[in-house]
């Protein structure tokens, strides 16, 4: 018999039930049609769930319990860093003066918020070795787009038409996608045998048509680019700019500064670097930091200081424009600010501990998996499951699913693309040795099972709320929404004549 499904909120619905109490309008009664012509009024109510307050609370509480979360256990996800989220940050972001501040509040009445952003900008400049920061981008990829538009404006302003962007083959998928959204053509260059960008190939590709190199450093293999100075020289001598994808900035805080390595512009993912939550995939914030030469092109508004006042400056004739409606994901930036104020000079220890933890895990796991790029790693490392695949027919996906049975979230898999059967692991700085040992123990046990009982790995998971899901069917016959039961007077919810 088919096991019972966990109910949808719609399946708790009983006509007439409601979870909230409504105020009366409390103003003289006027027929609605006298205010708004009847032809504009909704004829068919939206079939939203009709549930009691208890139904609502229990439903969403139970849903939260069906998640693996950073507050529940260890997340080995590489690249998609899940960092410690101090709870005090949540208190700061919910202070009424922040949380209830309207985005159109006159600047004279929003000085506290503007000062916070201005001070955060100073801190990020100090940490990155850059000169200015825009807070508008809502996430890392949004930051990439913003930065590339500034790069394009920079070259255009010099009368140069440079339409190519170089990315290494280990890059995040957002890099080429952002370049395309900015109208650039993407040139991919390979990595060398040690996992660095291949400088010979870069030299061959870097000509007068190149606008920028987009580089992640440490790169997505968790390796520091050993020839970063030479790379910057090659790029700059061709007239192009150096762009840093700051996804892995948390490995080098207080150790080395991108601005000193030759980068002209970078984005930071505050959820990967400065402890803001990333539950379920956002919200994030993707501040972009730049060297002085790019300042004219910053999105508007910037937060500028005018004596002892802070202002929103829209007067930037060469700006690329606005990339979102208001001045950024402020509530997220408050959390990052709180973290930086708490940690300050200790940031270097944050990075050192992240690197130490990663190397400890790597040392424990390397006898059991292949390591295609055999170097001391930074904050993350990439193993390969190719041995398990070749010898026992167990894929990396199976290994990841089996880890769930041992109570751990799966690592990032099949990324970066240049590693066959990739298993990418990032422990972060906050995990204890006991947690790292428990995780290593589980992964080693799975590696042993690949030899002794490969079927149990291939058919995993066995102990999760749902077992392996049919993703092919999901894509072939998309069911992306609940629909009201038919036949119902409420209709299908679909209308309009162009289906």
């Amino acid at each position: 018999m088919k096991p019972a499904d966990f109910p949808l909120i719609f399946e708790h619905s009983v006509p007439g039930r409601i979870a909230s109490s409504m105020p009366e309008a409390g103003v003289p009664d006027v027929p609605l049609e006298d205010i708004i012509d009847a032809r504009h009024l909704r004829r068919e109510a939206a079939a939203l769930p009709e549930v009691s307050e208890l139904d609502l609370v229990r439903h969403y509480t139970r849903l939260s319990q069906r998640n693996y979360a950073i507050d529940v256990g260890f997340y080995p996800l590489g690249s998609c860093t899940m960092k410690y989220n101090p709870k005090v940050n949540e208190d700061a972001a919910r202070l009424p003066g922040f949380a209830r501040l309207h985005p159109n509040t006159p600047v004279a009445l929003a000085q506290g918020a503007l000062e916070l952003l201005w001070r955060l900008e100073q801190m990020l400049c100090e940490i990155s070795g850059m000169d200015r920061v825009t807070f508008q981008p809502a996430a890392g990829a949004h930051g990439e787009l913003t930065a590339l538009m500034m790069i394009r404006a920079y070259h255009h302003d010099r009368g140069e038409r440079r339409m190519r962007v170089i990315v290494p083959d280990s890059a995040h998928g957002t890099n080429p996608a952002s370049a395309a959204m900015c109208g650039f053509v993407v040139t991919t260059v390979p990595s060398d045998a040690r996992g660095n960008i291949d400088t010979a190939a870069l030299r061959g590709a870097a000509d007068g048509s190149v606008a920028a190199l987009m580089l992640t450093n440490p790169n997505t293999l968790g390796l520091f680019e050993e020839h970063i100075t030479e790379v910057a020289e090659i790029v700059h001598s061709s007239g192009a700019l150096m762009y840093l994808d700051g996804a892995n900035f948390n490995a080098v805080l207080g150790v080395t500064r991108p601005g000193d390595q030759g980068f002209d512009v970078m984005h930071m993912n505050v959820h990967k670097t400065f402890s803001t939550p990333h539950g379920g995939g956002g919200p994030g914030a993707g501040p972009v930091a730049i060297k002085r030469g790019l300042e004219p092109y910053l999105p508007v508004p910037t937060i500028d200081r005018d004596g002892d006042r802070f202002i929103l400056n829209d007067d930037r004739p060469k700006t690329i424009g606005r990339v979102r409606a208001f001045a950024g994901n402020f509530g997220i930036l408050v959390r990052a600010y709180a973290y930086l104020r708490a940690y300050g000079p200790l940031l270097r220890q944050v990075s050192e501990a992240a690197v130490l933890n990663a190397n400890y895990l790597l040392a424990r796991l390397r006898p059991h998996f292949d390591l295609p790029y055999d170097r001391v790693c930074m904050h993350e490392f990439v193993l390969s499951g190719r041995r398990q695949k070749a010898q026992w027919g167990v894929r990396t996906l199976d290994i990841a699913k089996r880890l769930l049975d041992y109570g751990f979230h799966a690592p990032t898999i099949y990324f970066p693309l240049i590693v066959d059967e990739a298993i990418m692991i990032e422990p972060t700085e906050t995990e204890s040795r006991q947690t790292l040992d428990a995780f290593a123990g589980a992964l080693i046990r799975v590696a042993e099972e690949c030899a002794t009982d490969p079927e149990i790995v291939r058919s995993a998971p066995h102990h999760t709320p749902v077992r392996r899901l049919d993703e092919v069917a999901a894509a072939r016959h998309p069911n992306l929404r609940w629909r009201p039961p038919v036949p119902a007077a409420r209709g299908s919810g679909v209308s309009g004549g162009q289906e």
Binding site: A325, A474, V494
Partner: protein, 344 residues
């Protein structure tokens, strides 16, 4: 992650119900960037490279649209508003053979409700898509949803669905469309499937549209979205439910109407436009709007938005918003304060 994925699927479903569209994604960054992405989507769907946008779409959203499309060969034609609304004839005149989409906002930046069906017809007659931007989704508790009058893509700002104002973010961009267009949508989608025991489960699906698979050929570069805000929006919609969302919208309309009547009774103050409004309306003032706001601030009231910065012809224009969170006593206090300030 089954809990989060299910909550996202429920959010997608509720947003479809509210907008009367077939499919909604898991969220975009905000309403303005969602509109920028919708223009790119329309270009790809129509195979044409021009969009016609009403000047009554919020200026920030038009700014972001320009930013998003500036390097993609998409040209933008703006249609001026007439008496606070977008005239279908003016839209018809602006449309050409290269027009991929007509973009309007309803209620628009002046709070006025647009003639959706006529605008849809103007777009569709020319083979263009209709993109409707929604500044406050609560309005759809009471107003005809875009799907009911032929919208092809709906975007909007989801913040009013239970999210803090928080000085501009984090918010959530809404994006919904017709089933036939789903494979050109940007952003994450959660779908239903089954596990090997036949039990219902949820997965991220149709990922071949996305950057981590398609890289430079993806429909968008978006990766991180606004999941937690979408969760809050879903809970908000479920807390109100079928009847509650209509009630909130109705309280907004009635209180805004009351405020508008009372403010317009002040000598020298008049409504800028006659068109029906939801919970925002524009007044013309006998004093400079910024000066009035300064006076009101002294009394602890954050006044309306001075529109002259974006609309020079509305140098005396003052955009007022009254939601269900403003009591009659607060409205009366506002009226008293405005009356005294414009008399002084």
């Amino acid at each position: 992650m089954q809990g989060e994925l299910q909550a996202t699927y429920e959010y997608q479903s509720m947003l479809c119900e509210l907008t009367a569209m077939d499919v909604a994604n898991a969220s975009m960054y905000d309403g303005a960037s969602a509109l920028g992405e919708a223009a790119v989507m329309a270009r790809d769907l129509a195979g044409r490279d021009q969009v016609v946008i009403s000047a009554a779409v919020h200026p920030h959203a038009r700014d972001v649209l320009r930013t998003y499309t500036q390097h993609l060969g998409i040209t933008i034609v703006e249609v001026p508003s007439q008496a606070g609304r977008t005239a279908p004839d003016a839209v018809r005149a602006a449309i050409g053979p290269a027009t991929a989409a007509v973009i309007v906002q309803s209620p628009n930046v002046f709070g006025c409700i647009e003639e959706g069906p006529a605008l849809a017809k103007a777009a569709h007659d020319a083979g263009a898509l209709l993109v409707v931007s929604i500044a406050d989704p609560v309005s759809l508790g009471l107003l005809q949803p875009p799907g009911a009058y032929g919208a092809d893509i709906v975007t909007g700002e989801g913040q009013p669905l239970g999210n803090h104002l928080s000085f501009g973010g984090p918010y959530l961009g809404m994006l919904a469309t017709r089933a036939a267009f789903v494979r050109r949508m940007p952003g994450r989608l959660v779908g239903v499937t089954t596990d090997r025991d036949g039990r219902r489960g949820f997965v991220l699906t149709l990922q071949t549209r996305e950057q981590h698979i398609r890289r430079e050929k993806a429909t968008s570069n978006i990766c991180t979205n606004e999941a937690l805000n979408a969760l809050a929006a879903g809970i908000y919609m479920a807390a109100l439910g079928r009847e509650g969302i209509r009630r909130v919208a109705e309280v907004c309309v009635r209180r805004a109407h009351y405020a508008r009547q009372r403010l317009c009774a002040i000598p020298g103050v008049r409504a800028a436009f006659d068109a029906p409004t939801f919970h925002e309306f524009v007044l013309r003032l006998p004093v400079a709007p910024d000066d009035l706001n300064t006076r009101l601030a002294e009394r602890g009231i954050l006044g309306g938005l001075a529109l002259g910065r974006w609309y020079p012809e509305l140098a005396d224009g003052w955009l007022v918003c009254i939601t269900e969170a403003r009591s009659r006593a607060q409205i009366d206090a506002l009226v008293t304060a405005v009356a005294e300030a414009v008399r002084a």
